[in-house]
């Protein structure tokens, strides 16, 4: 590196460059906030308190520790962002209530002892997420 490129020049480029790109990122974030209302089903979320309650059930039982939701989470068990479309509400409730399968050697899902209300909330949550515009992801119904 040449003599004119001093440590303090390097430092100034670092601060200048970082601040510039951080501001661009903030501008993109701002624009993101403007656009997502058309995609994130917030009207449904506001109208139906079951959805937020379902998200709490989802979180309080740490379903994300085995499953993915929109491809994020753990890769041990099926994608659930589209499970409402893949399986429908009745299957989902019956499935959760029937766990574990105890099939020898097969991956197991615990019994969470959820109430009927909690199951309904979860289903409302799964319906809501399945209708969010995810740019056509996943590639097919299997997730």
């Amino acid at each position: 590196m040449s003599g004119t490129f001093t440590t303090s020049t390097a430092r100034n480029i670092f601060f200048g460059g970082t601040i510039f790109f951080a501001l661009v990122f903030l501008a993109l974030t701002f624009q993101n906030e403007q656009i997502i209302p058309q995609r994130d089903q917030r009207a449904q979320l506001a109208a139906n308190p079951s959805i937020a309650a379902g998200k709490k059930v989802w979180e309080n039982n740490q379903c994300i520790g085995c499953h993915t939701l929109f491809g994020e989470g753990a890769y041990f068990a099926p994608e659930l962002g589209n499970v409402y479309k893949r399986r429908g509400p009745e299957f989902i409730k019956a499935w959760i209530a029937a766990q574990p399968t105890h099939t020898p050697g097969r991956r197991q899902m615990p019994q969470f002892n959820l109430t009927d209300k909690q199951l309904d909330d979860l289903v409302a949550f799964f319906k809501y997420v399945s209708e969010i515009n995810t740019n056509n992801w996943p590639p097919n119904i299997e997730g």
Partner: protein, 457 residues
């Protein structure tokens, strides 16, 4: 060791290695559950093992960063630590909080833990990597504030170098971005959007500053190359990191309900993220080639070079592999992601912490370097762990390609569970590589107890 108070780092390093062992043991349990699905069920369900595995990793890396900073800042500032007592007290608080949280994961069902810790008052739990009860998160903030206060005061009363400035910016950034873990809106799109401000802006942002600063510090010590040269490299690397990595966050905004334009911004900027990692590789090799002294600690030099290479492979190459949105459409949330996560975390952050431990631990134990015998053993552990991680990554990549093919590309897509059954050969091989990793870790720990002739520090 030039300042007595640097010795507080030892607590953190020992604690870090202890949690490292826990991380690997639980990793092996999960690896087995991948192929023998009901192994240890219902005692340790997969999600519980995974929380222990990932949280232990994060906490031990944080401990490693803290220990490194407690060692590095006094030496760079040429003064004693502002308050060694505070540093030791914070270590115990951190360790007890971490142990209590892990005990909570293992002993009570998660929903019970959420209830006991009042998650409904301020729900932050149940999201990947941020599973800790809200009260644990608050504890982490307290420990981080005390830590930042202690080091900032130390730096203010002493010499201010580029290395310590960069390290402190990284550590402040780490704490600030952690605050996003307290934001958990009902709207899942916003929840996910800002979740990445903690996760991505950590590993592809501020943590890289910490990585660069620690590497620069150790390279100055083991090579004797001029500080000015090293500091310029450091600034160039972290500039590249942040101008690519901040907008690179967009590579997580393709499929979570956020607008299409992120596919352009995310793909273009994140495709440039390997550049700073490559610069890091060049940096490490260049400095070692231009060395002005033969430092007796060969093992530390090996770890430093290893960090340069493996962070580029894991983050740079395996990151690039799936970062363009048309590719990510197929790879998203598969074993490809897992493959990348493993090599990136190991190659960058595990290795840089082990580099610092390798350099500083002998000095804190009163010698310039460990005996030849101990170093040979440590180098064996380096190769065992590093080669195992490479194989874990390769096996998971093979599993991922097959998974994508069967489940997402084939004319008649297979279900998730049927696909998983087809991958079991690769999962078995991965588990085998994991066992070798554990052996490497045992050799690593034994190397600390290996005697032999040493030169005084």
């Amino acid at each position: 060791m030039q300042y007595q108070s640097q010795a507080v780092a030892k607590y953190y390093f020992v604690g870090a290695i202890g949690l490292f062992v826990a991380q690997i043991l639980f990793g092996l349990i999960m690896g087995l559950q991948y192929v023998i699905g009901d192994f240890l069920f219902p005692e340790i369900p997969f999600n519980v093992a995974r929380m222990v595995h990932t949280n232990a990793l994060i906490v031990w890396l944080l401990m490693g960063f803290m220990g490194s900073a407690y060692y590095l800042i006094p030496e760079e500032s040429e003064t004693e630590l502002y308050s060694p007592k505070l540093a030791v007290a914070m270590f115990w608080i951190f360790l007890v909080a971490a142990a209590a949280t892990v005990a909570g994961y293992l002993l009570v069902p998660y929903a019970g833990l959420a209830k006991m810790t009042g998650n409904d008052l301020w729900p932050t739990m149940g999201r990947e990597f941020l599973e800790q009860p809200t009260i644990t998160k608050l504890g982490i903030v307290v420990v981080a504030l005390a830590f930042l206060f202690n080091l900032t005061m130390t730096m203010l009363k002493g010499r201010k170098t580029a290395i310590s400035l960069v390290l402190m910016i990284g550590l402040w950034g780490l704490s600030i971005f952690f605050l996003f873990s307290f934001y958990n809106p009902d709207n899942i799109v916003k929840d996910k959007f800002f979740w990445w401000w903690t996760v991505h802006l950590w590993v592809e942002g501020v943590w890289e500053l910490i990585l660069g600063a620690i590497l620069a510090f150790v390279l100055i010590k083991v090579t004797g190359v001029d500080r000015e040269v090293i500091e310029k490299w450091l600034y160039v690397i972290i500039t590249l990191t942040l101008i690519t990595g901040i907008i690179g966050t967009g590579h997580h905004y393709y499929w979570i309900g956020t607008p299409e334009y992120w596919q352009w911004w995310g793909s273009i900027f994140s495709a440039l993220e390997p550049i700073p990692f490559f610069a890091m590789t060049l940096f490490a090799f260049n400095m070692v080639n231009r060395r002005r002294r033969e430092h007796p600690n060969k093992a530390a030099t090996l770890w430093a070079l290893g960090t340069g290479v493996m962070s580029f492979l894991g983050a740079g190459v395996w990151g690039f592999l799936h970062t363009l949105s048309p590719v990510n459409y197929y790879t998203h949330g598969t074993q490809i992601t897992a493959a990348h996560g493993h090599m990136a975390f190991y190659g960058a952050y595990v290795m840089v912490v082990l580099t610092m431990i390798s350099y500083a631990m002998p000095l804190m134990r009163g010698r310039a370097a460990n005996s030849n015998k101990a170093q040979v053993m440590e180098m064996w552990s380096f190769w065992l762990m590093t080669v195992s991680i490479v194989f874990i990554t390769l096996f998971l990549t093979a599993a991922g390609i097959l998974q994508i093919w069967l489940q997402r590309v084939a004319a008649v897509p297979m279900s998730f569970m049927d696909t998983q059954a087809q991958l079991s050969l690769f999962y078995w091989l991965r588990e085998g590589a994991g066992v070798i990793f554990l052996i490497g870790l045992v050799v690593y720990i034994v190397s600390f107890f290996c005697k032999g002739e040493t030169a005084k520090a």
